[in-house]
């Protein structure tokens, strides 16, 4: 993506712009990305259309540190209900971190500290009284790299039901088939459900993980670059799947693929160095973004 080169130019411009910004407080800096790199507070450009949608998830002034290094800065964004929202931005800008904060997977990293809050359908996610396990059951997540469990395909898909103690064969069978069909994997594996999931190809494994994530009918589906390990055909299948899920599930998807974002999402958020830069309807972001920087990124001239 050439982010290394741009980071260098950002570095070079960093000092003078920073001093310029400091010398003229109150004035919006000329280039937001450079200002962000210089560590200045920059208001995110959030379109009105987003705010009108009923939200399933509200991220509210969310900050996150890995040790002393801040990875997310005051992220405030509502995620619309039953819509597909894409997160784009250069590598290392905190997309995965944000996604992992939603289901509190970052709790497992010892050095993480947060402030601010998120609300899932009105319930505070970071409320100390919130049961993390119950919270995670309301969400499904697919990771950047496929991570099937060391068990049969069937058991992988019904994993979340198994841990809830579901034993009825009928229910499990039905959920398994529905989820695998949903993930466009059913026809490929229906004759080998009892085989090890680790024997599947990389793309099949990723679709299996998607099937696993939708098996529990989550309120929000978190997809972290689900297609980064897939070939174009498998990618197409996953995109079709996202199209099918649209309207039934609220999906938050991280992607580096601008075509994918523009094709399959309703809303797009552009992040840079841990900050939200611009957030609006996908058509607007890709055709008439408010900020030049966003335009430069989505058209591939930067990042």
């Amino acid at each position: 993506m050439g982010s290394g080169a741009s980071m260098q130019s950002v570095d070079r411009a960093r000092q003078d712009i920073a001093s310029e910004a400091v010398s003229r407080p109150g004035e919006p800096p000329q280039d937001r990305l450079i200002a962000v790199a210089a560590g200045l507070e920059v208001e995110a450009e959030v379109h009105d259309g987003v705010l009108k949608e009923p939200p399933v998830l509200e991220i509210d002034r969310f900050n996150l540190w890995y040790g002393t290094k801040q990875a997310l800065h005051r992220i405030t964004m509502p995620i619309p209900l039953n819509k597909v929202t894409a997160l784009v931005g250069p590598s290392g800008c905190g997309k995965s971190t944000l996604l992992r904060s939603v289901n509190r997977l970052n709790d497992l990293v010892q050095s993480v500290r947060i402030t601010g809050d998120m609300r899932l359908n009105g319930d505070s996610i970071y409320d100390p009284r919130m049961d993390v396990i119950e919270l995670r059951k309301r969400m499904g997540m697919v990771f950047q790299k496929p991570n099937p469990f060391p068990m049969s395909i069937y058991e992988n898909v019904v994993y979340s039901l198994r841990i809830d103690g579901e034993t009825s064969r009928g229910v499990l069978d039905e959920v398994c088939e529905m989820s695998l069909r949903g993930a466009a994997l059913w026809d490929e594996v229906k004759d080998r459900l009892q085989d090890s999931a680790l024997g599947l190809s990389g793309g099949q494994q990723q679709r299996l993980c998607i099937a696993r994530a939708i098996a529990a009918e989550p309120e929000v589906l978190l997809l972290d670059e689900p297609c980064s390990a897939l070939d174009p055909i498998a990618t197409g299948k996953v995109e079709d799947l996202i199209q099918e899920l649209r309207g039934r599930y609220s999906v938050l998807i991280v992607t580096h693929n601008m075509q994918q974002a523009s094709r399959s999402s309703d809303y797009t958020a552009f992040m840079y160095l841990g900050r939200l830069i611009e957030y609006g309807a996908t058509t607007d972001i890709f055709t008439k973004p408010v900020l030049r920087e966003t335009e430069a990124y989505v058209t591939g001239r930067f990042g």
Binding site: N103, L108, R136, M151, S160, S201
Partner: protein, 560 residues
């Protein structure tokens, strides 16, 4: 193409090239592996060869010396004499002969110089007689007598008559032994139980109490009955022994003396010089059968090692049953729950150090803690009566259970370290995937982490079992005995006796090989026992490895 004309940007030397291709490293690594393999194969084939050859019949040679003395035996070894002696006499060497007339000469072996030999022959009817006691006898059968009546005369006839009469006499003897050991033993046990009941009643209700006198009355009643039954047993065994008495085989030994051997005192007899291949094989297999299935005789230097096989296998399995859950749980806590801090590191270092503590220290600990503290405590509460009545501790001394526990402690570090290794090899992405599905920590461990780590855990267990099965020093302190033919599992209530002392193959190697008064004769046995021990450990390992590879097949992805 024309590299000559292009400027060379990277200097190339033959040395750099060689290193880049890694040739020296291949040779280095390959040769060290080859060395290791050579040593292992060498050791194992020595053990296998000597161990397997022990029971194969060897020809008997009748050696006549120049002074007229005659020696009858198996040649077990040859070596050259001192160079000087050999040069003068022009003879090649000397030989070690297993003579088999300990009764007369007091020796089992004799070195004979080739220079002194006048004649060597292999008499057709030279017989090896394995006696129940007093060791082997080498001789030629002359006569089979029943009292004064001569049943058969001459080697051929005696051979025939022996084949007919010997199984019958042997059957009677075994029956009598069975009666003594089991039926009489059972009566012994009942008498002892009644005695214990009296002591117990005295302890519970006080001496002279009504309960005690009641128990005493019952003991007297039982004693009468037991006496009656013992009388019938006595009659039966006396009859069996009486029928055997008087049956004698006379052998002529090398010195020409006639040695009578009771027919039922002969375990087995064979004529190696006239045996066909099938005959050899028959003797070979029959001796292996005795070795694997029978109790030892003659200070463990003959007979079988069944109790030791049994003890080794049971102890190893019980040890595995204890150490596996214990070690896995400890490792789970260390790896999955304990925070990363100086304490955890210290614990880890301590565990690694435990692996280096000499095993005899574990033995001392086992004796001091398991036997003298835990065992004595158990005795105090549950086996007080037998402590008072016999002055004998039950659990308060070495036994199978304590030995297994001691070895479980000894092998614990191996299991913990291997399990930790296996747990940390489980990819974090799998754990996160499970958490993201809403699984709790324990659910994740049980359903994802443990199954995935199982092959690695099995590896640790295999190492632990191999180490435990070959350990001797600590066992000597906590329950292994030179001779303990009563197995810890038998037909008497409560059928399992984990407090009993037991035999162990590794200890048997030490005992037979180095503590036996007759260690030279026992040496082939040592090889056989070693071979057996290695084979048992290999069998346990192969089973575990097979299990592991079955598990692994489920967890390892087949694509790249």
């Amino acid at each position: 193409m024309n590299s000559e004309s292009l400027p060379r940007r990277r200097a190339r030397s033959g040395h750099a090239n060689l290193t880049a291709h890694g040739e020296p490293w291949v040779w280095l690594t390959a040769s060290s592996l080859a060395l290791a393999i050579a040593m292992i194969v060498g050791l194992l084939s020595l053990i296998a060869w000597r161990g397997l050859a022990t029971f194969w019949p060897v020809p008997l040679e009748l050696v006549t010396l120049a002074d007229g003395r005659r020696v009858f035996g198996e040649v077990t070894e040859r070596e050259p004499l001192e160079p000087t002696t050999a040069a003068i006499a022009g003879h090649p060497g000397r030989r070690l002969v297993r003579t088999g007339d300990f009764d007369a000469s007091g020796n089992h072996f004799e070195w004979i110089d080739d220079t002194l030999i006048a004649d060597i022959s292999q008499p057709e009817w030279a017989t090896v007689v394995e006696r129940l006691d007093a060791g082997r006898l080498h001789g030629i059968p002359r006569r089979l007598r029943h009292g004064d009546r001569v049943v058969a005369e001459g080697s051929v006839d005696v051979g025939e008559a022996f084949a007919r009469e010997h199984p019958i006499a042997r059957g009677r003897l075994l029956r009598a032994v069975w009666i003594d050991k089991h039926e009489r033993g059972e009566l012994q046990r009942q008498r002892h139980a009644a005695r214990l009941a009296v002591v117990q009643a005295g302890l519970d209700a006080g001496a002279g109490s009504q309960r005690q006198s009641e128990a005493e009355r019952r003991e007297r009643q039982l004693a009468g009955e037991i006496e009656r039954r013992e009388q019938t047993l006595d009659e039966e065994t006396a009859k069996l022994r009486g029928e055997n008495a008087g049956w004698v085989v006379e052998f002529e030994t090398a010195s020409g003396a006639s040695v009578p051997v009771p027919l039922d005192g002969i375990v087995r007899a064979w004529q190696p010089n006239r045996l066909s291949l099938a005959g050899n094989l028959g003797v070979y297999l029959s001796r292996w059968g005795e070795f694997l299935g029978d109790d030892p005789r003659e200070a463990n230097s003959a007979g079988g090692v069944f109790p030791a096989i049994w003890g080794t296998v049971t102890m190893t399995l019980i040890m595995a049953i204890f150490v596996a859950p214990f070690g896995v749980l400890a490792a789970l806590y260390l790896r999955e729950y304990a925070g990363r801090g100086p304490v955890t590191t210290a614990v880890r270092v301590a565990i690694n150090n435990l692996a280096g503590v000499p095993s005899i220290v574990y033995g001392a600990f086992g004796l001091g803690f398991f036997c003298y503290v835990v065992g004595a405590g158990i005795d105090d509460v549950f086996f007080k009566a037998s402590l008072v009545a016999d002055g004998q501790p039950t659990f308060g001394t070495g036994g199978l259970l304590w030995a297994s526990l001691t070895l479980a402690l000894l092998t614990l570090p191996v299991v913990i370290v291997a399990t930790e290794e296996a747990l940390s090899a489980v990819p974090n992405s799998m754990r996160e995937g499970s958490y993201a599905c809403g699984a709790g920590k324990w659910q994740t461990i049980r359903r994802i982490v443990l199954p995935r780590a199982l092959p690695g855990i099995m590896t640790g267990l295999i190492l632990a079992m191999a180490r435990g099965a070959g350990e001797v020093a600590p066992l000597m302190l906590v329950g292994v005995k030179k001779l303990a033919v009563e197995l810890p599992v038998d037909g008497t209530f409560p059928f399992v006796h984990p407090e009993r002392e037991f035999m162990h193959l590794a200890y048997l190697i030490y005992d037979v090989g180095f503590q036996s008064p007759n260690s030279q004769a026992a040496r082939p046995m040592v090889f056989t026992i070693t071979f057996l021990l290695v084979a048992i450990i290999a069998l346990l390992n192969v089973t575990a490895i097979w299990l592991r590879s079955r598990l692994r097949r489920r967890f390892v992805s087949q694509h790249f």
